[in-house]
Structures are given as C-alpha cells and as structure tokens.
C-alpha cells in the first residue's frame, strides 16, 4: 500500500518537517495559523494557503469530537496547494474549535490534521482511510503520545498501512 519512499503514502507527502508538537495557542485561529505557516515554510502549500484556510475554518468549522479526543481537520481548496501533504499539530493545551456542522458546539481540540489536497480523486483512498482510522481505538491516543516529529510521522504512516 505504501510506496517505497519513506515519507510518501497513499499519494500524500507526510514529512517530519510538517509536524509540530507543542503548539502554544489560545484560539483556533492562532493554532491553525501556526501550523499553516510552518506548512508554507516547508514548501507544501502557497502563501495564499494561510489566509484561505483561516477563512474556511471560519465558514466551515472542522472540529470533530471522537470518543478518545477532539481533533480538527482544517483544509482548503486545491488551488492553494503545491503538492498533496499532511501536517499534524499537537497542541500544548486543548484549544476550543467549533464542531463541524454545528458552529455553536465547542470541541476541545488536542491535535490538528491539516490536509493539503491537490487532486481529490487521487487522494480519495487516503481521506477515506483517515476517517476510518480515527475511530480506531487507541489510535489518536498513540499519536498524541509521540514526542518528536520523526516519531509522530513514523507512527502516523504506520497506522495508515
């Protein structure tokens, strides 16, 4: 399933330099901005990605309350993306996001999965798998226990295959 290249899986680039482990933020806007700016510096997305993803979160919130943890899956249109990639941001303290489809319902988010989708039809498998995997017992907890970007990257890729 996974290609032989170490940081490439199911059509997505998943590299340690996209990962951030101790994001200090007090709002969802701050949290998304920090991870998105890092994503831009690493080259996966364009400079227009940052304002676009913030605007999108405002209009279509991505907080999701799973049994084990609250997560967010911020993403925006393909036009702002250079190549398909995933950035994961662990928050030092839970930050309140609004729930997907229920803007007045708060979700305490501990980990963000920022998706840079370039060609949706090519990344379908990844998206479907991701949503299924999040429901797997212990998966989110295992990812949140990671202490380095490399560990998080490895564990995340390992759970996809």
């Amino acid at each position: 399933m996974c290609e032989t290249e170490k940081f490439f899986c199911l059509g997505m680039n998943i590299k340690p330099e996209y990962m951030m482990l101790n994001i200090k933020a007090s709002t969802d806007v701050e949290a998304i901005k920090i991870l998105a700016e890092n994503f831009f510096k690493a080259g996966a997305v364009k400079d227009t990605f940052v304002p676009a993803i913030l605007l999108r979160e405002k209009n279509f919130c991505t907080g999701l309350q799973f049994e084990e943890a609250g997560i967010a899956i911020p993403h925006t249109d393909a036009i702002h993306v250079n190549y398909p990639a995933v950035a994961i941001g662990k928050l030092e303290n839970p930050v309140v996001f609004q729930s997907m489809g229920a803007p007045d319902t708060p979700v305490k988010v501990e980990i963000m999965f920022m998706l840079a989708i370039k060609e949706p039809h090519k990344q379908i498998e990844f998206l479907q798998l991701l949503m299924t995997k999040f429901q797997e017992e212990n998966l989110l907890r295992r990812l949140m226990k990671c202490n380095t970007a490399e560990e998080l990257t490895e564990k995340f890729i390992a759970c996809l295959v």
């Binding site: 999701l64 489809g101 998206l127 479907q128």
Partner: protein, 96 residues
C-alpha cells in the same frame, strides 16, 4: 426503486468523500447494494441540486432550501451517535 443520495460538504471533496465510503459499506451490509446512487457536491450547491434526490447528507449546515429529506452526517466521521442516523437513512429506503 433506486434511491438517489446527495452527499455534501464545504468543498465537495474531503469529508463528503469519507462519508461516501462509510455509507456505501453500511448500505451494502444491509443488503441494499445496487439500490442507491450517490452524488457529491459542495454545500453551496445543495439548494440547487437537492430537488432530484431522495436524501441529502451533509457534514455542515445548509443555508437555503433543501428540497429533499436532510440528515447531518458528521456522525459518519466520528462514529459517535451513528446508529440513529443509520436508522433514519434506512427509513428512506422503506418509502416508495
């Protein structure tokens, strides 16, 4: 009779795709394979497109008129509270 289901989300690609996979698996398990057609669209297109469908499932709210039965589908992503949603969807298949 073939049921037409419209799946919608903000961009029409990310979460609606994830819902589609899960929904199809569940419907097939219930023996409904071949009895439904699924289309995906952006949430903004729902008022315009929903007239031709038997059910619309979205992962975010629609502003505007939905011209068919509507169900919030975030539970497909989180697994939390999914069973009552499935029950509601199955009743659509029971009607003509």
């Amino acid at each position: 009779m073939m049921k037409k289901i419209l799946l919608a989300c903000g961009t029409g690609i990310c979460t609606s795709t994830a819902v589609s996979a899960k929904l199809q698996r569940i419907l097939d398990e219930k023996g409904l394979k071949g009895q439904y057609q699924i289309a995906q669209c952006k949430i903004a297109e729902v008022p315009m497109k929903s007239a031709g469908f038997d059910l619309c499932i979205a992962t975010t709210q629609v502003s505007g008129d939905v011209k068919c039965p509507f169900i919030m589908g975030v539970a497909f992503l989180t697994g939390v509270g999914l069973n009552p949603i499935i029950e509601k969807i199955l009743t659509i298949f029971e009607t003509k």
